[in-house]
C-alpha cells in the first residue's frame, strides 16, 4: 500500500472526526473567500452603472460592510483550519514517534547490529517531520485547493460560461504536471534522505571515535571522508530543489497565461456586447464587473496554485519518508514471542543447550552442535580465544538472537515457549560492551527495577565494590554519569553494569568478561561478594583470568564455535589441550619464578 494512502487511513482511523471538522472549516474559508470576488464584481458594476445613482453611498457602504464581514469569517474559518490541521499533524506525528520508539525497543539485536544510530535518528527526526508536514499541508490544506479550484470553476461558470471554459482549460495541464513531477521528486528526495543518513553516520562515527582520529593524526583523512558525503548531499539537494523550482515556475507561468487569455477573450466579449443606448453604455454579454471578478478569482487562486507546488513536494517527501518509517514499523523482529507463551515465574535456573547451532547470517555457523546441561546453582566458566563464540553462547540464553538449530531449555522448557519478559527476568546478562545512561548513579543502578529500595541499590553497589567510590562523590548517588555527567573509568563502568544486574537478582547470571578492566585486587573482592549471594543461582562466567575460572563447577573450553573440552580445572589442567595452553601462558611467569626460586633453594641447599 502506498505510504500516503496509509497515512490517510491512519488519519481517518484515529482522527476521522477531526479531519471532517478540518474540512468543514476549509469549506467555510473557501466559500467566504470565493464570495469576495463576486461581491467586488457587483460593486464595480454598480459604480459604473449610471442608472444606479440613487442608491449612492448607502449601497457602497453596505457592500463594504459585507466584504469586511466576509473577510472576518474567512479569517475565523482559517483559524479553525490551521488549528485543526496543525493539531492533527502533531497527533499523527506523536503517534508515529511512539510507535517507532516502541518498535525499536523491541526489534532484536540482529536488527540493531546492522543499523547506525545516525540513520535511525534521521528517520525519527527528518522523516517524521516530512510526514507531519504532509498531514498538515497535504492532507488537510490540499482540500482547500481542491475546494477553491472547484468553487472558482463553478462561480466562473455561473458568471460567464464561455470565458469560464477558456479559463479552466489550464487545470488538466496543471494536474498532469503536478503528478509527473511528483513522481520524479519522490525519487530525488528519497535519495537526499539516504545520502543525509550516510553523512550523519560519518559525522557520528567521527565524533564518537575522535580519540582514534587524534591518536593517528587522521584529521585530514576524516575531513576528506566527510567532504565526499556532504558534497553528495549538497548536490542531490540542489538537484531536487531545482527540479521543484522548474516545476513551480512552469505551473505559475501556465496559470498566468490564462490571465492574458481572460484579458483578450473577456475584453472582446465585453466590447462585443457594448451598446450605447440614449447616451448610456449598456453591456449585453458581460459586464466589466464580471470581467473584473474573473481577475479577482484568478488572483485568489494564486495562493492555492503556489501552495499546490508545496503540496506536490510534500506528497513526494511524505511518500518517501513514510516508506522509510513504515519499513521499520512493519518489520517483524526475528525474535518473536509465541502466541501461547507462558510466564515461567521464577525459574530454578536449570539451563540446557540441546544440539544448539547458531549463525548470525543464517549460513555460516558460529556455534556448532552445543550440548550443555547446567544443574541448578552451578558456576560454569567459559574460556576461549577471541571470536570462539563465548559471547554468542551467552546471548542465546535470553534470546537476544534465536538459535538456528536445536533448542535451549530452562527448567526443561524451550525458551521459545516463554514470554520474553519472563525469560529475560530470569536471565541477567552483564554485557561485554558496557552502556551507561546519562542519569544519576542511582537511576543507572535501578535501571531494570525502578522501584528498588535505596538499601538494595547500595547493597548491589557494595557487591560490585563501587559503593565506596560513589559514596565519596559530593552528591553521592545523585551524581549524574554518562556523556553529560562525570566520566567513569573503564573499570568503574564495568562495576556499575554488574551492580545493576545484581539488583534484579536473576536466577541465571551471565558475566561476560565483566571484570576485564578491573584490577585483580578489586576483581577478587567482587567475586568473593558475588559468591555470597550466588547461593542457588546458576552463573555463567566468561573470563580470561584463571584465578576466577579455576573455582568453577564446570569449565567449557570454546574453540571455533565448538566446546573442545569440558570439566573441572584440576582435570583439565593436566591433559594436553587448549585449556592447558591457555593456562600455561598465564601462569608462565609464576611458574618461571617458582622454578627460579626452587633452583635458588637448591643452590642454597647445595652449599
Amino acid at each position: 500500500m502506498s505510504p500516503v494512502i496509509r497515512l490517510y487511513k491512519m488519519i481517518l482511523h484515529y482522527h476521522g472526526r477531526q479531519l471532517a471538522l478540518g474540512y468543514s472549516a476549509t469549506l467555510g474559508a473557501a466559500i467566504a473567500g470565493l464570495t469576495i470576488p463576486w461581491v467586488l464584481g457587483i460593486g464595480i458594476d454598480r459604480v459604473i452603472d449610471p442608472t444606479n445613482e440613487t442608491q449612492g453611498t448607502g449601497a457602497l457602504l453596505a457592500l463594504a460592510a459585507i466584504i469586511v464581514l466576509l473577510g472576518l469569517s474567512r479569517g475565523l474559518f482559517s483559524w479553525a483550519q490551521t488549528f485543526i490541521g496543525e493539531g492533527l499533524s502533531q497527533k499523527i506525528a506523536y503517534r508515529i514517534r511512539n510507535d517507532y520508539y516502541d518498535q525499536l525497543q523491541h526489534l532484536s539485536f540482529a536488527f540493531h547490529d546492522k543499523q547506525t544510530t545516525g540513520s535511525l535518528m534521521s528517520r525519527a527526526t527528518a522523516d517524521v517531520e516530512a510526514v507531519r508536514m504532509f498531514v498538515n499541508m497535504g492532507a488537510v490544506r490540499s482540500m482547500l485547493i481542491v475546494l477553491m479550484l472547484f468553487g472558482a470553476a463553478i462561480a466562473m461558470l455561473i458568471t460567464d460560461v464561455q470565458l469560464a471554459l477558456i479559463t479552466l482549460a489550464f487545470v488538466p495541464v496543471l494536474l498532469f504536471r503536478a503528478i509527473r513531477t511528483s513522481r520524479r521528486l519522490r525519487r530525488l528526495w528519497l535519495r537526499v534522505q539516504e545520502l543525509t543518513g550516510e553523512m550523519v553516520a560519518t559525522l557520528q562515527e567521527n565524533l564518537t571515535g575522535i580519540r582514534v582520529v587524534k591518536a593517528f593524526a587522521a584529521e585530514e583523512h576524516e575531513i576528506s571522508k566527510f567532504r565526499v558525503r556532504s558534497q553528495a548531499v549538497a548536490h542531490q539537494t540542489f538537484l531536487a530543489q531545482s527540479t521543484w523550482a522548474k516545476n513551480f515556475a512552469i505551473m505559475n507561468f501556465s496559470f498566468m497565461v490564462v490571465m492574458s487569455a481572460i484579458l483578450w477573450f473577456g475584453g472582446n466579449r465585453v466590447i462585443d456586447g457594448r451598446e450605447v443606448v440614449n447616451g448610456q453604455i449598456l453591456y449585453l454579454n458581460m459586464t466589466p464587473g464580471e470581467l473584473a471578478s474573473f481577475f479577482v478569482y484568478m488572483n485568489m487562486l494564486i495562493m492555492p496554485v503556489r501552495m499546490s507546488g508545496w503540496i506536490v513536494n510534500s506528497f513526494s517527501r511524505a511518500s518517501s519518508s513514510g516508506q522509510r518509517l513504515f519499513d521499520i514499523l512493519d518489520m517483524k523482529s526475528p525474535v518473536q514471542e509465541a502466541p501461547d507463551a507462558v510466564d515461567v515465574g521464577r525459574s530454578s535456573g536449570r539451563v540446557t543447550f540441546d544440539h544448539v547451532s547458531f549463525a548470525y547470517d543464517g549460513v555460516n555457523d558460529v556455534l556448532h552442535d552445543i550440548n550443555v546441561e547446567v544443574p541448578v546453582g552451578a558456576v560454569v566458566a567459559l574460556v576461549g580465544r577471541p571470536g570462539s563464540g563465548k559471547t554468542t553462547f551467552a546471548h542465546l540464553v535470553p534470546r537476544f538472537y534465536d538459535v538456528t538449530e536445536g533448542r535451549i531449555l530452562i527448567d526443561g522448557r524451550d525458551i521459545r515457549d516463554l514470554t520474553l519478559e519472563s525469560l529475560r527476568r530470569n536471565v541477567g546478562v552483564i554485557q561485554q560492551d558496557v552502556f551507561i545512561h546519562t542519569a544519576s548513579i542511582r537511576d543507572n543502578v535501578a535501571y531494570g527495577y525502578v522501584e528498588a529500595h535505596m538499601d538494595d541499590v547500595v547493597g548491589a553497589m557494595k557487591i560490585a565494590q563501587l559503593h565506596d567510590f560513589i559514596d565519596e562523590l559530593p552528591s553521592a548517588y545523585e551524581t549524574v554519569v554518562g556523556e553529560r555527567g562525570i566520566g567513569l573509568s573503564g573499570g568503574q563502568r564495568q562495576r556499575l553494569a554488574i551492580a545493576r544486574t545484581i539488583l534484579l537478582d536473576p536466577p541465571v547470571l551471565v558475566l561476560d568478561d565483566s571484570t576485564s578492566s578491573v584490577d585483580v585486587h578489586t576483581e577478587r573482592l567482587i567475586l568473593h561478594a558475588l559468591d555470597e549471594v550466588i547461593e542457588g543461582r546458576t552463573t555463567f562466567l566468561i573470563s580470561n583470568r584463571f584465578h576466577a575460572i579455576a573455582q568453577a563447577d564446570e569449565i567449557l573450553v570454546f574453540q571455533d564455535g565448538r566446546i573442545a573440552q569440558r570439566g573441572k580445572h584440576d582435570d583439565l589442567v593436566d591433559v594436553p589441550g587448549e585449556y592447558q595452553d591457555l593456562y600455561a601462558s598465564q601462569m608462565r611467569p609464576f611458574e618461571e619464578a617458582r622454578v627460579a626460586a626452587l633452583e635458588a633453594e637448591r643452590a642454597q641447599g647445595g652449599d
Binding site: 559525522l203 470581467l291 568478561d513
Partner: protein, 611 residues
C-alpha cells in the same frame, strides 16, 4: 631547546550550555546575517542572479494590475470598437510578455537561490567539521556527541529552511514597497486611505508575537528533549531489552512526546489566531477603497480600471504580510541556530601548533618525562612530578590500580593533553614545539576501548595511511593474529563492518585496532589494556609477534594482568599519580614493594575465595 615551564591550565572550554537553551533568537541577528553574507561572497554570480530574479519577479507582479487597468479603462469600457488587435490585442500581448517575465524570473530566482543555499550550507558544514577536527581532546571531554551533532545537523538544517523560505520573503518586502509606490502614484489620496489600517495590522502582529513566543520556545525545548531521549533509547537498546525496560522506557518517552504534542497543538492554535484580525483589517482596506473609490468614480474623478487595480493591489498587499508573520518563528529559530553554529566556529582550539612549529624529524624513540605534573581539572593533579626516561627500543610496562594515572601518562606522549607543569620530550624535543601531526604520525596508540569504523576491514586497518599497500595490511593483520578470522569472513578483508564493529567479537575488535596501529610502522607504540579481552595465550603470541615487528621500536604497555608484562625491559608502578617503583620484574619482586604485592595477588592462592 626552549623550555616551557609554567603554562596555566585554562578552564575547560566548550559549547556553552545556555546557548542550547536559546531556542528562539531575535528576528534578525545582524552578526549572523553578516557572516552568512560573507559566505555568499564566494558565489557572487549566483547572488546577483537571485537579486535579478527577484527584481524581475517584483516588477512583473506590480505591472499586472496596471496592465489590466489600462485594458479596462482604455479599451474595454471605452475606446474604439474596431481594430481590436491594435488595441486590446497589444495590451493582452504586453500582459503575456509580463507573464513570461514572471515565469522566467521566478525560475531564475528559485534555482539560483537553491544553488546559493546548498553551496553556503555545504561550506558552513565543511567549516564546522574541519573546525571540530582542530579541537583538542579536552573539548570532546566536555561536549557530548549528541550536542555537537545537533549543531552540525539540525542547526544547519534550520538555516537551510530559513534560506529557502525567507529570501523569497525578502522579495516580498520589496514587493510591498513597490505596491505602495504604485498605489501612491496612481492616486495618492486613495492610497493613503487604503493603507490607513496597515499600522493596526503591524500592531496586532507585534502583540501576538510577544504573546506567542513562550509557547514556541516551549515547543522547541520539548522536541529537543524528545530527540535526546530517543537517541539514548537507540544506543541503549541492548541494555533495555536485557533488563525488560521497554515498557518503562516507552512510558517515559510517551510523557515527553505528549508534552511536545500538546505544546505544538497549542502553537497551532496561536498561529491561527492571527488570521481573523488580519483578514478583517485587510478587507477593511478593500472596503475603504470600494466606498471611497466608488464615490469618486460616480463623480467621474476616477476611472473604474484604476479602482480595480487598487483592489488587486490590496489583495496582493496583505498576503506577504501574513506569510511573514507565519515565518516569524522560523526566522527566530534560524537566528538561534545561526548563533549556535557561529559560536562553535568561534571556539579557539585550546591546543594548537605554535606559529613556528617545526616538523618533528624521524625520531629514535627516546621518551623523557621531566618533572611532569598534570591534571584534567586545575588544582586536582592526576600525575605528580613524574621523572622517567625511556630509551629507544625499550619496552616499558605501566602498572597500578584503576585510576592510578596510567592512561593519563601515556596520553601525554601523544599530546592529547598539555602538561600542567614540566616537560614531555621525544628525542630531547618538547612535544609542544613541533606540529602535532608530525608528532602523532610517528607513534600509534591502541586505546582502552577499541573503536572501529563501519567500513571494510581493509579500510579500517589502513585508516589514514593512504600509501599502505594491501600486502602490508595483510602482514600487519597476520602479525597480530587477526588474519585467520578476517579471511573467514564473508568478503575477507573487504567485509564491511557494522557500526563500531558490532559483527566482531570484542577480542577481534581489539586485534583489528592493533593491526591498524602497527601497519604504519610507528617508532613508538602504546597499548592501553589492548589485550584485556583476550586470553593469555593469544596475548602471549601477540607479544611475541610484536616483538619481531617492532624490533627497535619503543613500546609502552598498560595492563592489569601481570602475566602480560613480566617480560618488559622496564616496569613502572604508579600509585595515586606518583611514580613509586621502576625496575625489571625480578628486581621489583625482590624489593617486596607495591609490585610484589600485586604479583602475589595475580598468582597466589586467595584464601578468601572459595566456591
Amino acid at each position: 631547546m626552549a623550555t616551557k615551564t609554567q603554562q596555566k591550565p585554562e578552564a575547560p572550554r566548550g559549547l556553552s550550555g545556555n546557548m542550547d537553551e536559546i531556542f528562539l533568537g531575535n528576528v534578525l541577528d545582524i552578526t549572523v546575517v553578516r557572516r552568512l553574507v560573507r559566505y555568499s561572497m564566494a558565489y557572487r554570480g549566483t547572488t546577483i542572479a537571485v537579486v535579478f530574479g527577484m527584481l524581475g519577479y517584483i516588477s512583473a507582479v506590480v505591472a499586472q494590475p496596471l496592465i489590466i487597468a489600462w485594458g479596462i479603462d482604455g479599451f474595454i469600457t471605452a475606446g474604439p470598437d474596431e481594430d481590436r488587435w491594435g488595441s486590446l490585442g497589444i495590451v493582452s500581448l504586453i500582459f503575456f510578455g509580463d507573464t513570461l517575465l514572471l515565469g522566467v524570473s521566478q525560475f531564475i530566482q528559485f534555482r539560483s537561490l537553491s544553488r546559493l543555499s546548498t553551496n553556503i550550507l555545504y561550506d558552513v558544514r565543511d567549516d564546522m567539521f574541519t573546525h571540530l577536527q582542530k579541537q583538542s581532546t579536552t573539548f570532546f571531554d566536555h561536549n557530548e556527541v549528541g550536542r555537537i551533532m545537533s549543531r552540525v545537523q539540525n542547526d544547519v538544517l534550520a538555516l537551510q529552511e530559513w534560506m529557502e523560505m525567507s529570501i523569497p520573503t525578502v522579495g516580498d518586502v520589496f514587493l510591498l514597497g513597490a505596491i505602495i509606490v504604485a498605489m501612491l502614484v496612481a492616486d495618492t489620496q486613495m492610497a493613503a486611505l487604503a493603507l490607513a489600517p496597515a499600522p493596526l495590522m503591524i500592531l496586532t502582529m507585534f502583540i501576538w508575537q510577544r504573546k506567542a513566543k513562550p509557547t514556541f520556545i516551549r515547543i522547541r525545548a520539548a522536541i529537543s528533549v524528545v530527540n535526546a531521549n530517543l537517541q539514548e533509547g537507540i544506543t541503549g537498546v541492548r541494555v533495555a531489552q536485557s533488563m525488560n525496560r521497554q515498557a518503562e522506557n516507552l512510558r517515559r518517552f510517551d510523557t515527553l512526546n505528549r508534552a511536545h504534542r500538546d505544546a505544538a497543538v497549542h502553537g497551532g492554535f496561536l498561529s491561527g489566531m492571527l488570521m481573523p484580525p488580519i483578514e478583517m483589517i485587510s478587507m477593511t482596506s478593500v472596503g475603504i477603497v470600494v466606498v471611497f473609490g466608488g464615490l469618486r468614480v460616480y463623480d467621474g474623478l476616477l476611472e473604474v480600471g484604476v479602482l480595480f487595480a487598487f483592489v488587486m493591489f490590496l489583495l496582493r498587499f496583505f498576503e506577504p504580510i501574513r506569510l511573514m508573520t507565519m515565518e516569524f518563528t522560523q526566522f527566530q529559530k534560524a537566528m538561534a541556530s545561526g548563533a549556535r553554529i557561529f559560536e562553535l566556529l568561534d571556539i579557539e582550539p585550546d591546543m594548537h601548533d605554535p606559529a613556528d612549529a617545526a616538523t618533528l624529524p624521524e625520531v629514535q624513540g627516546r621518551i623523557e618525562f621531566r618533572d611532569v605534573t598534570f591534571g584534567y581539572v586545575p588544582g586536582i593533579p592526576v600525575l605528580n612530578h613524574i621523572n622517567l626516561v625511556i630509551e629507544p627500543g625499550e619496552s616499558v610496562a605501566f602498572v597500578g590500580l584503576t585510576g592510578a594515572g596510567k592512561t593519563s601518562l601515556a596520553s601525554l606522549v601523544q599530546r592529547f593533553y598539555d602538561v600542567t607543569d614540566g616537560q614531555v620530550l621525544i628525542d630531547g624535543i618538547d612535544v609542544r614545539d613541533v606540529s602535532r601531526k608530525s608528532l602523532a604520525s610517528q607513534m600509534s596508540m591502541v586505546l582502552q576501548e577499541p573503536f572501529l569504523y563501519s567500513e571494510s576491514v581493509r579500510a579500517n586497518i589502513r585508516f589514514n595511511h593512504a600509501d599502505v599497500t594491501d600486502e602490508q595490511i595483510e602482514a600487519a593483520a597476520t602479525a597480530v593474529g587477526a588474519h585467520d578470522f578476517i579471511v573467514k569472513m564473508p568478503d575477507g578483508y573487504d567485509t564491511v563492518l557494522e557500526q563500531r564493529g558490532a559483527n566482531l567479537s570484542m577480542g577481534q575488535r581489539a586485534l583489528v585496532s592493533m593491526a591498524r596501529a602497527i601497519v604504519s610502522d610507528p617508532r613508538i607504540l602504546m597499548l592501553d589494556e589492548a589485550t584485556a579481552n583476550m586470553d593469555s595465550d593469544t596475548e602471549h603470541k601477540l607479544q611475541e609477534a610484536l616483538r619481531v615487528v617492532l624490533k627497535g621500536r619503543t613500546s609502552l604497555l598498560i595492563a592489569h594482568r601481570l602475566s602480560t608484562i613480566t617480560g618488559a625491559d622496564k616496569i613502572v608502578v604508579l600509585e595515586h599519580g606518583n611514580l613509586v617503583e621502576v625496575g625489571k620484574h625480578q628486581e621489583l619482586l625482590d624489593q617486596g614493594g607495591v609490585y610484589a604485592g600485586l604479583y602475589a595477588m595475580n598468582f597466589g592462592e586467595d584464601p578468601t575465595l572459595s566456591v
